[in-house]
């Protein structure tokens, strides 16, 4: 009896399966027919015909994030900037989070413009720029696209695109000074995503800052391979702490899990992107933070005044683009004095981080004696070495 029942049911399900295929086919064909027919009178076409009046009044601004806006990191730093912008008069802010750096972001940008009339977009993730922003900007010349990363190339890129970035290595250098005063083992740890120039520059600035206090300090670096892999980041943090590291910092999209692990294990942490002080009330020393609200406000004021904005905008501590988290409870008076002295020099605009003679961690001279690399120096943007004192390798088989 049971046998019979099973058999019947099996036959029925098989029949069900192949019938469903036909249903699927027809449904699919219906979608496609609808897709083909409803082309002519779409709201999309209308909004394309009426160019956005970016300069003359209401601004509708779209912010796009690659991860969650409350990640205690890269995306939160931009979201905080967007919230400042939302308070400006005559401005509406749209936000969308967790948009991958693929077809999705192209469609999100177009959707913000075509369905909601956005006339200024801040697609914030580095990977959005090429090819996605470049492609959509070419299609929507009346919309302004401002991207975080400093990639604008006047010869090749559309005129409605701009790019901005901050010299966060200045704040990283200050992080290093504070970390050097806190460490007892003279071993610092740095968990980073990928060995790319921007990341290497931060690791190097942090290490140079620390070694300006104690020349025997080392920074052990671990590359996780991607921007947001919390499990690997926690593993790396525990591994570094087991090796005797007592100050931990990072360059990943969300420093949350690393800062939490450091706090739980009773060591110090130094933050990145935005403040993680709330996650580690005991061990959080300071952090290198973006101040995108300042950059965004600056752009929007320029656009509202009807003036032309710069295609390439960069700034450091002096310009208010980056800042340090307020010192945590564990930071000594000496550490504060040492860091603040360098900060003052940076604010005056006469502190140089990368200057000769500078060796990489294999002993090769990368900046000869007597040479100073100022912040705008293009060779800093293709940095491919780790400085002396960093334990680790760029790991790329080039």
């Amino acid at each position: 009896m049971v046998e019979m029942h099973r058999k019947t049911r099996g036959t029925l399900l098989l029949t069900l399966r192949s019938r469903a295929g036909h249903v699927g086919l027809w449904a699919g064909l219906c979608w496609l027919t609808v897709a083909g027919c409803s082309k002519s009178e779409s709201p999309a076409a209308k909004s394309e015909d009426a160019p956005a009046t970016a300069a003359a009044g209401a601004l509708k601004i779209g912010f796009i994030y690659v991860g969650p806006r409350d990640d205690f990191g890269y995306n939160q730093a931009h979201h905080e900037g967007a919230m400042l912008v939302a308070k400006l008069p005559g401005v509406t802010v749209l936000e969308e989070e967790k948009v991958p750096e693929a077809m999705e972001v192209q469609k999100t940008m177009e959707s913000m413009v075509k369905l909601e009339g956005a006339n200024l977009l801040f697609p914030t993730s580095f990977g959005y720029y090429d090819p996605h922003i470049l492609k959509v900007a070419g299609k929507l010349p009346e919309v302004t696209f401002l991207h975080c990363g400093g990639l604008y190339d006047a010869g090749k890129h559309p005129k409605n695109v701009g790019s901005y970035f901050g010299y966060i290595d200045e704040a990283e250098y200050l992080n290093g000074i504070v970390a050097a005063h806190a460490t007892k083992t003279k071993k610092l740890g740095f968990i980073a995503a990928k060995p790319i120039p921007q990341v290497l520059r931060n690791i190097n600035a942090f290490t140079l800052g620390a070694r300006s206090v104690h020349p025997d300090i080392t920074t052990t670096v671990v590359f996780t391979g991607d921007w947001s892999v919390p499990v690997k980041e926690a593993d790396s943090a525990n591994g570094l702490i087991d090796q005797g590291i007592d100050v931990l910092t990072m360059h990943v999209d969300s420093p949350k899990v690393i800062v939490q692990t450091a706090e739980k294990r009773g060591i110090y942490s130094v933050g990145y992107h935005t403040s993680q002080a709330a996650l580690a009330p005991k061990g959080y020393l300071t952090g290198a933070e973006w101040n995108w609200g300042k950059v965004y406000t600056q752009y929007i004021e320029t656009i509202k005044a009807g003036k032309t904005w710069d295609h390439l905008v960069r700034g450091g501590l002096k310009d208010g683009f980056v800042q340090s988290s307020p010192y945590g409870a564990a930071v000594s008076t000496d550490a504060k004095a040492a860091a603040d002295a360098v900060r003052k020099s940076m604010l005056d605009g006469d502190y140089v981080i990368f200057k000769g003679e500078l060796k990489d961690n294999s002993g090769k001279v990368v900046i000869p004696a007597g040479t100073q690399k100022l912040q705008r120096d293009p060779t800093l943007e293709s940095m491919d070495y780790l400085v002396e004192g960093v334990i680790g390798s760029t790991g790329v088989g080039s």
């Binding site: 019938r19 249903v23 999705e104 369905l115």
Partner: protein
């Protein structure tokens, strides 16, 4: 045999479509409760979901663009499933397919004609994906390793290999902070359908699903593969080449996902880099299961999933919902659809048994008095309901 006319209407496509629509309605209702709970207006949200997914020409094109790769990656699970294999390494086949296309692109002279260059790149994607998934099939056939586990674990190997190559030996030195292979010249890129913004990937997806249907349902190869999936012992007994069939369906599935990767590279990204790893392969598994591994059912399911994802942005922007709201809806919808189909099967089997019992009873009652047989069919229908 007498039961067939009674149950036939319940198996009609219309009725099954009704079951699926009913399931969708239940899912919408559950989602409405969720929305009310988080303080959003359910009707407003549904309206915007419609306009974001299918409500305008732009939205439709948006949904179709997102559906195209899902059709191909779904085949990577659906084809081996017909031979009884559960393959979930779709993402790796997609990544390596993209890598294959990018590697061929590096070998091509920039002056090469567009169509042959594209054919070469897409073929490389096909081959790379086919070999990768065939590896899982071979491990199963020749080493007795479960293909589900091996395809999942090989995904991590594939991802590491992909990253190592695009960020190491194959990296374009000019790609500083976004390590990538050298850019593919515009002339070699896959274009969009005339008058739309949807790239040719959708045509590849539709054709691949149609061909898969013909292959699996209308050819000897497909029949043999389904015998292997239906009853392995029988297949061996009648002398079917089980190993070759298993490797064949794995290779075909892998080829589809590899093609998806090659299309992503040649139509969207313009080079292979880590952003190719965006979950299109994993979404394909979901599509395949909801389509119950049927190649033609994959098409509407992929379009539906594409539409839901396309509408996600509007829910965030207009209703302040988090990105997870769309995930909640997807979860509810697919669970209710899958469950409803299972229960339709159960209900039909139950109805069949009941009606058989009714008939037996009616026949027994009718035997002494033939005239009393009249009401039996009515009772039977009542039993089915």
């Amino acid at each position: 045999m007498t039961r067939a006319p009674l149950l036939a209407p319940l198996l009609s496509p219309l009725c099954l479509l009704g079951v699926q629509l009913g399931a969708a309605a239940v899912a919408l209702f559950l989602f409405a409760i969720f929305l009310a709970f988080v303080g959003a207006s359910p009707l407003g949200v549904f309206g915007d979901m419609w306009s974001g997914a299918f409500g305008s020409s732009f939205s439709l094109q948006n949904s179709l663009s997102r559906a195209a790769p899902l059709m191909l990656t779904a085949l990577c699970t659906a084809l081996p499933a017909r031979a009884g294999l559960v393959i979930i390494g779709n993402e790796a086949a997609l990544l390596l397919g993209g890598l294959g296309a990018a590697m061929v692109a590096m070998l091509l002279p920039p002056t090469a004609a567009g169509v042959p260059a594209l054919c070469a790149m897409l073929s490389a994607g096909l081959v790379a994906g086919a070999l990768w998934i065939a590896l899982s099939g071979a491990l199963r056939q020749h080493r007795g390793i479960n293909e589900t586990i091996s395809s999942l674990l090989l995904f991590y190997v594939g991802l590491s290999l992909f990253r190592h190559l695009v960020e190491g030996p194959l990296r374009d030195p000019a790609s500083l902070n976004k390590p990538s292979t050298p850019p593919i010249p515009d002339a070699h890129m896959l274009g969009t359908l005339a008058g739309t913004d949807v790239h040719y990937g959708i045509v590849f997806g539709l054709v691949a699903c149609a061909l898969s249907y013909v292959l699996m349902e209308r050819t000897g190869f497909g029949f043999a593969a389904r015998v292997v999936g239906g009853n392995l012992k029988t297949a061996r007994l009648i002398g079917l080449p089980v190993s070759a069939l298993c490797l064949g369906v794995c290779a075909l599935g892998g080829a589809a996902a590899g093609l998806a990767g090659a299309i992503e590279v040649t139509a969207v990204h313009g080079s292979a880099n880590a952003t190719l790893y965006a979950g299109l392969g994993f979404s394909g598994i979901l599509v395949a299961f909801v389509a119950r591994q049927h190649p033609l059912a994959i098409v509407p399911v992929a379009v539906l999933l594409g539409g839901i994802q396309a509408s996600g942005g509007l829910l965030q922007r207009r209703h302040g919902l988090p990105d997870a709201a769309v995930e909640v809806f997807k979860g509810l919808l697919f669970i209710v659809i899958l469950a409803s189909e299972t229960y339709v099967g159960v209900a039909l089997a139950w109805a069949e048994r009941k009606s058989a019992a009714w008939r037996a009873q009616a026949a027994a009652a009718a035997q002494p008095l033939p005239a009393a047989a009249e009401p039996a069919p009515t009772l039977g229908v009542g039993g089915a309901e």
